[in-house]
Symmetry: C2
Subunit: 184 residues, 2 copies
């Protein structure tokens, strides 16, 4: 049996520092496996979805401003889970809101934690094919451009630093594997 | 020319909420492209390195407890940049501290932001080959096990949820691409 609690750190106290719109922050005091103590800074996040939308030999991406980086970035469509929302439903919602496309052909590629050292954010990443035109409808404080890029363009965007986030680089690797092997 | 400021959000005020050992948190008030306003919750992080250490047909991984997830996880070796530290030097340091291996054959695969919606954390991910035995020497509040796994095991660990963080899944995709094509 797999021991998911190996080297467990036991919480002795927990202080909530901040509760925001998107994230909250807590600091836990823990007892380490050797009996020592440490503090752990933990960002809590509601979880998110991302979609690799394939349209023929292209992938649909969106460009938006990322305040934490102080620059705009080209990324696959993604967004936070609404409270209680099922990830697949959220993926279809974000796909249509951000790109205007719908599909019935969507499946989970992977669910992954983005920064397990300090955050519990998980992203459920789907691949969507057989896209059909719906209606783009971004959130009111969301400003973005949508573009369908080839694999060559994707690699150029990575070289230029226009694509530089983990989920989108992972999506490009997954897309290459899918083209090479038929599976991810 | 590429416009890295498309849809720029102009900061009107910025409040530092918390300064910790690993991260700090600030909340910025911004003016949006349409003249509206919003607040942005931003986690600041010093940046990190990660290494894909290949040893024959195996990749070296480490298992450790991740307090934000309340479980242990198998990941590629990684760690924060020390203040002013050059990423390549940090990668070689973390590789030896966590796995006990050194190498002269190491190169950058990709630098990526883990969570551009709320954090500025960047990870510089390297691939290391031609490993030779040095001395493992984890930090004193770091408890970990080291293991060399095949690609098949890596995929099994993903299925079991023992591997479920972005950088390690990205590393496995990169490894598969490297085996298939000789490049990443």
């Amino acid at each position: 049996m797999t021991d998911h609690k190996k080297f467990e750190e036991i919480t002795t106290s927990s202080e909530m520092i901040f509760k925001g719109k998107m994230i909250s922050l807590q600091v836990d005091q823990v007892t380490l496996p050797n009996g020592g103590t440490a503090s752990r800074e933990i960002v809590k996040h509601p979880g998110a979805v991302a979609v690799i939308p394939l349209l023929g030999d292209r992938m649909i991406v969106v460009e938006q401003y990322r305040k934490p980086l102080e620059k705009s970035q080209v990324e696959i469509p993604a967004g936070k889970l609404d409270s209680g929302e099922e990830p697949l439903k959220a993926a279809l919602r974000e796909l249509e809101e951000e790109t205007g496309y719908r599909t019935d052909n969507i499946r989970l590629v992977s669910s992954f934690y983005t920064s397990p050292g300090f955050a519990n954010e998980i992203i459920h990443m789907y691949i969507a094919e057989d896209l059909v035109k719906g209606t783009a409808n971004p959130d009111e404080d969301e400003f973005l451009d949508c573009e369908a890029i080839t694999l060559e363009q994707a690699q150029q965007y990575m070289n230029d630093g226009r694509i530089s986030d983990a989920k989108t680089i992972m999506a490009i690797y997954a897309w290459r594997l899918y083209l090479l092997t038929g599976q991810i």
